[in-house]
């Protein structure tokens, strides 16, 4: 193995984040309870530094390193930046919540940072082994985080479920990987693509491998029928952890799908025999079941869980189109979704206080009377999730629909818009509760200044990107390489 220090430059973001996580781990041992804010500060500053490093090492050309197991390309750069920004928001929203509940511990930040590292490794993986490494790093941290509130039986139950189902999914993925390795003789995505293109391999084993891979991916994405864990975990985990699970990891899961299916197996895309057909089934089921069941939820975290499932369906629509435009659209959708999800859970956190979780839909009643500004922000987020212009959620859906129609799958676009009408109902129900009902709880909201600023920016971003979607879109399309 040839090795020289210049090879380390593209990996600097990961190195910097790993260093940061270790620093947090050590520093946190030596500070007192009331100085915990220091841990938080180091974490956030470190994330910003890592973001800076990521921007500094980004460039248009792609670099493949470490015997082909690691790749740095425009897609990984953009996704890493997004992951870092969203994680920054997640830690920011989480701070007050954790402090109020005696959960303000260094482990949250250590585990969180290792999870972020896992996501970054996933986005930059160029072989099945690297991607599995990143995935397990992420998953292990999240298992622990779900059970972070030791007192909460629901958290423990959720963590158990998450662990068992996650392990099952990893098993499926590994099984698929082993079959593909058996057929193609390589674990590297670029080599795999070349081998598949040549076509000189056992098709049956390949197809079986792809099926297991897609099942594993569907588990990780939370697509129907492998979605069972999503609502339970979203509901059971402490809200900041739900925020952590529900936002940035979706970007990583998108990267996972793109790396495996597009970088590695794009030759096996076509029609019902390839992965396109499997994704069609997953996407239609996800949009349908996610939206329908979300209507019946009385708990907002569960509702947002099912809403995630339906959004995953839309993201899959973009990927299954199999064109550069489709990947761009799916990426745009993923980034926008992560931002919406962060904002949505951010509001849930902001409305909660010590001894009270704003988890039920009733808790949103009359928010416009209690705090018109944040009611307005939630309104923007909800309309954006429903895909109503002029919010950015509309453009996310539009681009995906465009991509699907362009490959003559107009019927899928019709299915998509049909389910988004059903979806609109439960989003506007939140708006209805906030604006049309009388508050049942008059306690004034106490939201820290930093959270106020971040939430406001997060909500207004829905409007901003809705009015000016071109910038973000061209970032995505240059990341995909059009």
């Amino acid at each position: 193995m040839q090795f020289d220090s210049t090879q380390l430059i593209p990996v600097l973001p990961e190195i910097s984040l790993l260093t940061l996580a270790c620093v947090v781990l050590v520093v946190d041992l030596y500070i007192r309870e009331e100085q915990r804010i220091l841990t938080y500060a180091i974490t956030q500053i470190g994330l910003i530094l890592t973001l800076g490093v990521t921007i500094a090492v980004s460039m248009p050309a792609e670099q493949i390193l470490f015997d082909g197991s690691y790749i740095r390309d425009p897609m990984s750069d953009l996704l890493k930046m997004a992951i870092l920004v969203i994680s920054f928001l997640a830690f920011l929203y989480a701070k007050d919540y954790l402090r109020d509940r005696g959960l303000f511990k260094g482990e949250f930040y250590t585990l969180g940072l290792f999870a972020v590292l896992g996501m970054m490794v996933m986005t930059s993986a160029n072989s099945f082994l690297t991607i599995y490494l990143g995935l397990e790093l992420l998953a292990l941290c999240l298992y622990a985080l779900v059970a972070f509130d030791r007192e909460s039986p629901r958290g423990a139950e959720a963590a158990m479920k998450y662990f068992v189902l996650g392990a099952l999914a990893s098993g499926m993925l590994l099984y698929g990987i082993s079959m593909i390795y058996g057929a193609a003789g390589t674990l590297q995505f670029d080599e795999l693509a070349a081998v598949v293109k040549k076509g000189d391999l056992n098709q049956l084993v390949m197809i079986f491998g792809v099926v297991f891979l897609v099942i594993g991916l569907a588990f990780k994405l939370g697509a129907v029928p492998f979605h069972m864990w999503v609502p339970d975990i979203y509901h059971g985990a402490p809200t900041p952890v739900t925020l952590l699970i529900g936002s940035a990891p979706k970007i990583a899961a998108f990267a996972l799908t793109m790396r495996i299916l597009v970088d590695g197996l794009s030759e096996l895309h076509g029609g019902w025999e390839g992965w396109q057909g499997m994704l069609i089934i997953l996407a239609v089921l996800s949009m349908g079941i996610g939206n329908l069941i979300a209507i019946a939820q009385a708990n907002i975290k569960r509702m947002l869980g099912y809403s995630t499932i339906s959004h995953v369906g839309f993201i899959l629509l973009g990927i299954l189109a199999g064109t550069q435009e489709g990947y761009t659209a799916a990426m745009f959708y993923t980034l926008v979704y992560a931002l919406m999800s962060a904002g949505g859970f951010g509001i849930v956190i902001a409305l909660s206080r010590k001894g009270f979780e704003a988890e039920n839909l009733e808790d949103y009643k009359g928010l416009n009377q209690r705090n018109p500004w944040f009611a307005g922000m939630m309104l923007l987020l909800m309309f954006s999730m429903a895909g109503v212009p002029p919010t950015v959620g509309f453009f996310a859906k539009l681009f995906v629909l465009d991509a699907v129609v362009s490959v003559d799958l107009t019927w899928l676009a019709l299915v998509g818009v049909f389910f988004s009408i059903i979806g609109a109902f439960y989003y506007i129900r939140i708006v209805k509760l906030m604006y049309f009902d009388q508050p049942s709880d008059e306690t004034p909201l106490t939201i820290g200044v930093d959270t106020q600023v971040a939430l406001s920016l997060n909500g207004l971003a829905m409007l901003f990107f809705g009015l000016f979607p071109a910038g973000l879109l061209s970032l995505c399309s240059s990341a995909i390489g059009t």
Partner: protein, 503 residues
């Protein structure tokens, strides 16, 4: 040169940005907020006036055009312009909004800043709908309209407002998403979202019929046409007065406008093939909904059903043209479309005025039931005069604007088929029956209860609002020529365009 100014952008963005300013100013200085809202709405009206005065009615080309790229990757442009069809509707919008602001002056006690802001934002977005020449821009405006209206009905509406507003939202959302898919489909046929480009796009008959149905779902819900009209009575009854006014006066026109801008020119052959469907639905609206209006106990519901019947005339006028041109009846076709357009503008004035009249009564007695009134003219003589005048206009009395549009459409229908004209003309009887019967029960007769006995006549604010509308109704009724002239070139161009088959 005034035509070089971005007048359309100003007309769209002054009220929207002003609306956000009003929103930000909050409710501490409620009076200042209301004055700001009024000034912004009047300013918008003044800014929009050059559209009328600097308009060149000799051409059917788009005027006041603004065109810059918006989302280059998907060829979406910020492309706006007006012709003789959209321009009068924009003026109608900017004309009605200040009246709505004044009408809500004292009545709205809960968060007036949000109320005023919703109407201002709504105004900008509706002007945008009428002026958009890029299909995606149109769709963005079209959907964005839903958000303020959803809030207006839901926050300031009556007892059953939540049901009404969610029904309104989902109904219109359902109608429009299929249009979205049709627009995306055409994008891939033509390479951009230019609506005028869609007009010349070659499409096969099956494609046209599918696209036509997608458009029909969107526009028929908005108009609303029978049988997808059921959201309208609910929304109207529950909406606050201002909301009803905007709904009836402008939002319904957006459906009619959609037929002229999209359905007819983009899918002329499908429109021709399916004209029987639209004509049938229109005639059912005129006759059947007229009878439904007759039995209403609630004044707002009655006016709402009357709106559906009157909008039936509009769609009838638009789609009768195919039969007329088959009969080679010459200029009759233009009469149908122009009649429909005049009817839209006229109905904008009259329905707004009637809803405001009901609002005047409702603010005093908090009831919309006809049976709670009677003999109002004894205590409110000036109001009585206005209400009778607008009721007459609604029934199509010659000399008022209500007559002009109906007359033109009936005349056009005669050139198509006697029986169409016969059925359409029944509205003159049914319309008179339900409107005048309501007036009789509410305004005339003995004072029936103490509430009515204690009524006070209109204040200055109401006087200004209703007086302005009465002047508009009379002006358009006595001298409709300027309106007809303004749209003449565009309508003729449209008719020439749809006379040529795309197949």
């Amino acid at each position: 040169m005034i035509a070089d100014w971005p007048i359309l952008s100003l007309t769209v963005w002054i009220p929207i940005i002003g609306g956000f300013m009003v929103l930000a100013s909050g409710d501490r200085e409620a009076n200042a907020t209301k004055w700001t809202a009024l000034i912004i709405s009047i300013l918008t009206f003044i800014v929009s006036l050059p559209l009328w005065f600097a308009f060149d009615s000799s051409t059917s080309a788009m005027q006041f055009v603004e065109r810059v790229p918006w989302v280059p990757a998907f060829d979406v442009e910020y492309y706006m312009g007006v012709d003789g069809i959209s321009m009068p509707l924009i003026i109608l919008t900017t004309f009605i909004t200040p009246l709505v602001v004044i009408a809500g002056w004292e009545v709205i006690k809960y968060r007036p800043s949000q109320y005023m802001a919703s109407f201002l934002i709504m105004e900008g977005v509706m002007v945008g709908v009428f002026s958009a020449l890029d299909a995606m821009l149109f769709y963005v405006y079209w959907e964005a309209m839903l958000i303020p209206m959803f809030l207006i009905i839901g926050i300031w509406g009556g007892a059953n407002r939540v049901y009404a507003t969610i029904k309104f939202f989902l109904y219109t959302f359902l109608g429009s998403v299929f249009m979205l898919v049709a627009l995306i489909y055409m994008y891939f046929q033509s390479g951009n979202f230019d609506i005028l480009g869609f007009h010349t796009l070659k499409l096969g008959l099956t494609e046209q019929i599918l696209i036509f149905i997608a458009f029909l779902l969107a526009f028929a819900v908005k108009v609303p046409m029978w049988p997808v009209h059921t959201w309208l009575p609910d929304a109207h009854v529950e909406a606050p007065t201002g909301g009803s006014v905007i709904l009836a006066a402008i939002m319904l026109k957006i459906g009619g406008y959609g037929f002229l801008r999209f359905s007819l020119p983009i899918t002329p052959d499908a429109s021709h093939t399916l004209d029987w469907l639209i004509i049938g639905m229109s005639l059912i609206a005129v006759v059947y909904i007229g009878f439904v209006a007759l039995i209403q106990q609630d004044m707002k519901k009655l006016i709402a059903y009357s709106s559906i019947a009157h909008m039936g005339f509009v769609t009838l006028g638009f789609f009768i043209v195919f039969i007329i041109s088959q009969n080679n009846a010459g200029s009759g076709a233009a009469l149908g479309v122009q009649g429909g357009m005049v009817q839209m503008v006229s109905h904008g004035f009259i329905s707004a005025a009637l809803f405001l009249c009901v609002g005047v009564l409702y603010d005093r007695l908090h009831s919309r039931e006809i049976k709670d009134y009677g003999g109002v003219v004894n205590t409110m003589p000036v109001f009585g005069a206005f209400m009778v005048f607008f009721a007459m206009a609604n029934a199509g009395l010659p000399g008022t604007s209500g007559f002009v549009g109906e007359f033109m459409v009936i005349l056009a229908s005669f050139r198509a088929d006697f029986w169409y004209a016969f059925l359409a003309a029944t509205t003159l009887i049914i319309g008179a029956a339900y409107t005048l019967w309501m007036v009789k029960r509410v305004i005339f007769g003995e004072v029936t209860n103490e509430g009515v006995a204690a009524l006070e006549d209109m204040n200055h604010r109401e006087y200004i609002v209703l007086g302005t509308l009465a002047a508009a109704v009379l002006l358009l009724g006595l001298w409709p020529a300027p309106l007809v002239e303004v749209m003449d070139a565009s309508v003729n161009n449209l008719l020439q365009h749809i006379a040529v088959s795309k197949l």
